[in-house]
Each structure stands twice: as C-alpha cells, then as structure tokens.
Symmetry: C2
Subunit: 366 residues, 2 copies
C-alpha cells in the first residue's frame, strides 16, 4: 500500500523537481509515469539491485518501450567503460532525445546514469530511484553527475538535474549493514555543517537508525534531503555555499582514489575525512577538544572508521588532494569546522599544521 511520507520541492527555476519520500512507491508506477517524457525508457541498474527491484519497475511500466542495462556493482565500475556501455545501449536501441533514463541503484548508478543522460544527444531526461541510504540522503539530490578517472574521483561529469527523485524507504530493508552505515556518514555531515540540533539528535538516536527504525529512517532522510535541497537551491553550480557539502570529501576522495575504487565504501572514506577535517579544525584553534571528541564518538558508535587504511602515506594523500576540485590557483581549500553546526570553505590554515595532522593520521596504522 503506497504511503507518501513527504514531497520536497528542489527549487531551481525551470529545472525544479520533486523528491518523493515514502513506502511502496516502486510497486505503484504512477509517480514514475508522471515524470516520463515519452514512452521510450532505459532503466540502468546493477547486478545487486536488479534481482531485488527491477521486476517491480518493469511491471509498473508495462506497455511502454522499456530497455534495461545491468552494470556490475561497485565504485570501481563508475568508469568511462560502463558509461560508454549505457550510450551504446541508447544508440543501439535508437532511443530519441525525448527518452527518459531511470537510475535504479545506489550513488554509483545514479552518478553514471545521470552523466550518460547529460551527454546523450546533448542532454536527455532522467529519474533517480536511489536504493541506498547514502544515495537517498546525498548522491541522488542536486544534479551532480560524474564518473571517476584513475587520477581522481568524479573528475569527469556534469551538472544535470533529474526530473524527479523517488525514495522508497522499503528498499533499505534489503540494504546490507555496511552500506547503511556508509550512508550514516553523510547524514552526520549535515548536522556538522549547518544543523547543530540534528547532530545532537543523532547522538541520541543512532542505535535506532542502525536498527532501521522506520520513523527514525523517514525523519533522517527527510531532514537530510531538506538540508541538501536548501543548499543546492541557493547555489546550484557550487559557486559558494554548496562547497560546504564537501566536508570530509577532499580527504575522503584521496582515500578512495589512493586505495583503489571499491575497497572502501564512499561513506567510510568520508567518515575518516570528516574526522581529519575536524582534527585540523581543532589544531588551528577552531573546534574545541570536546566537540572533536563528540564527532569521533558518534562515528565510532555508528561503526564508521575514523582513521585511514594502512599503507596510505601522508605524501600520497597530499598528492591526491592537489587535484581536488576545490583547489584554485594551486591553493588547497578545505571545508573546516568553526564549531559543530558551522562549516566554512577556507585556505586560511598553516600548511605545517596540515602536514602534521596528515602524518599523525597515517602513522597510526603504520
């Protein structure tokens, strides 16, 4: 029985779109059908999600010209080869400019499908159906699409907004614990950057979240999407405020790239990145020791890692950070915390303190 918990509107002028949050949204095809441009559809999903939810979507779209492509699962497959496979499929099946792509899966599927939609015939429509907590609270909202390059994560991509985002919380029932926890890192991030109360609420409710309490899940997803929608609608192309969403990402992306995509889940790398950013924020005199500890404790309680993997040196991390998208004129800019609930983008930190922090973090494991 379909139950809509909330419909948020991402306000972007002619590119505005709704984010539906609820239960049993997939089995009922009404929402999807309402946002299709024509009867031509390509569903992009992966080998893990296809056996679970593909049938539901296909049944919901019966009678339309629905094609499907099933990619291998994992961040290491968010690459140019699989992106090209999607384009091959679109061309082989002769889909026109008024077709609609449907991304059914986690952040990887959303990013690669969105980027294929951005480039096919210079831009066609797509719908996001995120099936992981991480994709539901972050990746599928805001129109950032991309694929990875061996030299840097998300380095090839486009801003391309979906026609709608459909979050069916039922899909979390089949989500492995490690994936759920990975999503929690991005949830914690919203509290840290601009929502102090939410951070402390999470402290009190983290166990219920990990236990997939339906009310807690719905609240967390809605709060996170509201946070993101607010920031994105003020700064779609990341000229300013939107960069705050990258708290922990400069360090996190370096960890993901340095360890080889697919070893660490995105949220795991981001959790460590947030701890490193918090530590640096403390060392330069911003974040208090007690706040730093609260962050580490919440990450640990959520079973998230707080230190980088063994074998990744400070030098390697610095090298990888040098190609971060926030670097301007060779000056590294980081998202740091003034306090819990207040993040800023800054290049105003002593590089010696950054070096020291990196060495402390990388020697922990060596």
């Amino acid at each position: 029985m379909q139950k809509i918990h909330a419909i948020l509107q991402l306000d972007l002028g002619t590119r505005s779109y709704p984010i539906y949050i609820g239960q049993d949204l997939l089995a009922n095809g009404d929402i999807i059908r309402k946002h299709l441009v024509s009867s031509q559809v390509l569903i992009v999903t992966n080998t893990t999600v296809a056996p679970l939810y593909l049938n539901q979507i296909q049944a919901a779209l019966a009678g339309l010209k629905v094609h499907t492509i099933i990619l291998p699962d994992g961040e290491q497959h968010k690459d140019i080869t699989n992106w090209h496979l999607i384009l091959d499929n679109l061309l082989t099946n002769r889909l026109n400019r008024n077709c609609t792509l449907i991304a059914l899966g986690g952040g990887v599927i959303g990013d690669i499908t969105g980027f294929a939609a951005a480039c096919y015939q210079r831009g066609v429509a797509f719908i996001q159906i995120p099936t992981t907590l991480l994709a539901q609270v972050d990746a599928s909202v805001g129109g950032k699409t991309a694929i990875n390059h061996a030299l840097g994560k998300n380095m090839i991509g486009a801003f391309h907004q979906p026609k709608c985002v459909i979050i069916d919380t039922n899909t979390l029932n089949t989500l492995p614990e490690r994936e759920l926890i990975s999503g929690v890192a991005e949830v914690i991030k919203y509290g840290l950057i601009h929502h102090r109360d939410f951070f402390y609420w999470l402290h009190g409710n983290i166990q219920k979240l990990l236990a997939k309490d339906p009310n807690v899940l719905a609240y967390v997803i809605e709060s996170s999407c509201r946070s993101k929608a607010k920031i994105v609608s003020n700064d779609e192309q990341e000229a300013g405020q939107r960069a705050l969403l990258n708290l922990g990402h400069t360090f996190g992306h370096a960890i993901e790239t340095g360890t080889g995509y697919g070893q660490w889940l995105h949220g795991e790398a981001i959790a460590v990145g947030i701890c490193m950013a918090a530590n640096l924020s403390h060392q330069i005199g911003w974040l208090s020791k007690s706040e730093l500890d609260q962050i580490t404790v919440l990450m640990t309680t959520a079973k998230l890692p707080t230190v980088p993997p063994q074998g990744l040196s400070a030098t390697k991390i610095k090298e990888l950070m040098a190609i971060d998208k926030k670097v301007l004129d060779n000056k590294l800019r980081l998202v740091l915390l003034k306090e819990i609930g207040q993040a800023i983008v800054t290049d105003d930190f002593d590089p010696i303190i950054l070096d020291r922090m990196l060495h402390e973090y990388t020697s922990v494991n060596i």
Copy 2:
C-alpha cells in the same frame, strides 16, 4: 598589425560572449589573455594546425602555465579516445577548475575541446580559435560541443558556451581549397534558411569568395556569424528555431556516418544534404523548380558535390537517419524549404515521396 573588423555579441544572459573577427588577432595575445580565467591553460590543436599557428599562441601567452596537446587531424578522430586523452592531460598536469582550454583548429578541434571543457570537473572555461571557414561561420559559435559515436555523429555531447570566439581571417591563407569550399556549404545554408538576399548576393560573389578576396571573406564571416548568433540567442538549447540550422544535416550526417568519418568533409556532406532537402521540398510542392535549380547551380559553381557517394544505399541512409537527434517518438522530422530564405522543421511529408527521392539520389551513382 592587429585589425578588428567586427565584434559581435552573442546574447545569452550570464553566458553571453563576444565573437572577434579581424586580422592578425593571434599574434597579439591581448584578446586571449583578457578571457582567461587564470594562468592555467591547455591548448588543444592538431597535427596540421600546430606547425602553422601554435608558436604564435604560445608566444602570445608567454609567462603563463601553458600546456599543449596535439591530436591527429580529421573527423574520424573526434572520438571518445581523443576526448579522453584531453582529460588525461588535464589531470596529469593537475589543471584546476579555474583553468581555460583553448581550441585552436577547425570544427573537430572545437567540438572535442568544448566537450572536454564541459565535462572536466563538471565544466571549465574554453576559448574557440577557429582556423577553418566552416568552424568560423558555424561550429565555433553557439556552444554545441560533441564527439561522434560509431552509430551516429555528434551523439555524445553538451551545450557549453565558450568565453569568446576569436576569428583571425589570416588563418584562411593557409587553408586548403577543399576545406574552404566545405565551409561555403554552411555559408549558403544561412541564405537558404532565412536570408534570401544573402543567397543571391552569394550567387554574384561566389568566385571572389573562392579566390579568398579579403573583403568578401570578412563580409561572409560577419554575416554568417550574425545569422547564427541571432538564432542561437533566441533558442540556445534547440527547443525550436535553432533546429533550422540543421538544414541538410539529417541527410548529411547519414552520409558522413555511412561512409566512415573522415572520407567526406562535413561541408561536402551538408551540400549534398541541402540538395536532397531542396529536392524533397520541391517534390512535395513547396520549392519551385527554378529555385531548386538555383541551389544546385550555386553548389556546383562552388565546386561542392550535389549527389551522395557511390555505394551508399537508400536503405542505409534511412537506417542512419532514424537515430537523428530531431527524431521524436520515432517520427522523422526534417528541415525543408518553403522557398529560398524560408526553412521550417516538419514531419508533414509523404514518406513515399521521401523514399522515391532517396532512391533517385542513390541510383544516380550505382
């Protein structure tokens, strides 16, 4: 001695930019420097243009961090492999989001560089320096960027406007005659779609144009860019009027794809495509016989082909046309001529007449 003939403004709100037309614009780096976002620059050019003009640009940008990539020359190289080489170069040299790409060459270089700029870090700046007549009057103005796919021309791309277009008519001095003539096809197109007087003016001045008379060249480039700028500023994303610029392109792209990219120059294929569109327009009772003949005569006088290459069947052309970007809901739409100076996009033609026309054109050579 730098001489600016005209500065046209393409009016697209925050994405507006100037088109400079003149002589000796490359040797003087002022214009380029004015439009760079930072000191980080990647020049993309090809093996034909590099020996002629690369030194000039490099000298003009002395003191900046200028990288260069030289691609092979030809439409068959406007592919995913070379696009990826540009991205590799950007990442290897650690260019940031505030870098600027410079496309120095013809339409192929402009399209592939623009598409790399559109995708690198979700979009960086680029400058168009077109060195062929075709690129000067068409490809480099309007922000259409793309690469080819084996199954269709320009099927993978983006709308991404340059920071400026710099047209130095001196570069035409080294342009081979066949390339110049290829550009004339796109010039004729502007007359046909919405500028009847210009079409008849071309009839009287085609020999001077082929002889590279400087005044005629400057007038033709300015008129063509004005035509294109007017259409693009009214319809940036091709929701309507801009599709008129594709007169002859549905047939022309099928010829280019069907013969293998690089066999025919783009303008040559477009010339044939325009003749086919004109013929169809006549057969359905729109264009008069005398106007049809005037078009064929002008193409022939300009030494442009008017019939497709041998060995390309009507069936093959129809198959290739089915994936044209103007196809909607499996219905083929074509740009046809009501009369010289008035084109429209329409699906209102008898498919039997289209078939007959295709068979007439393809049996000519068999």
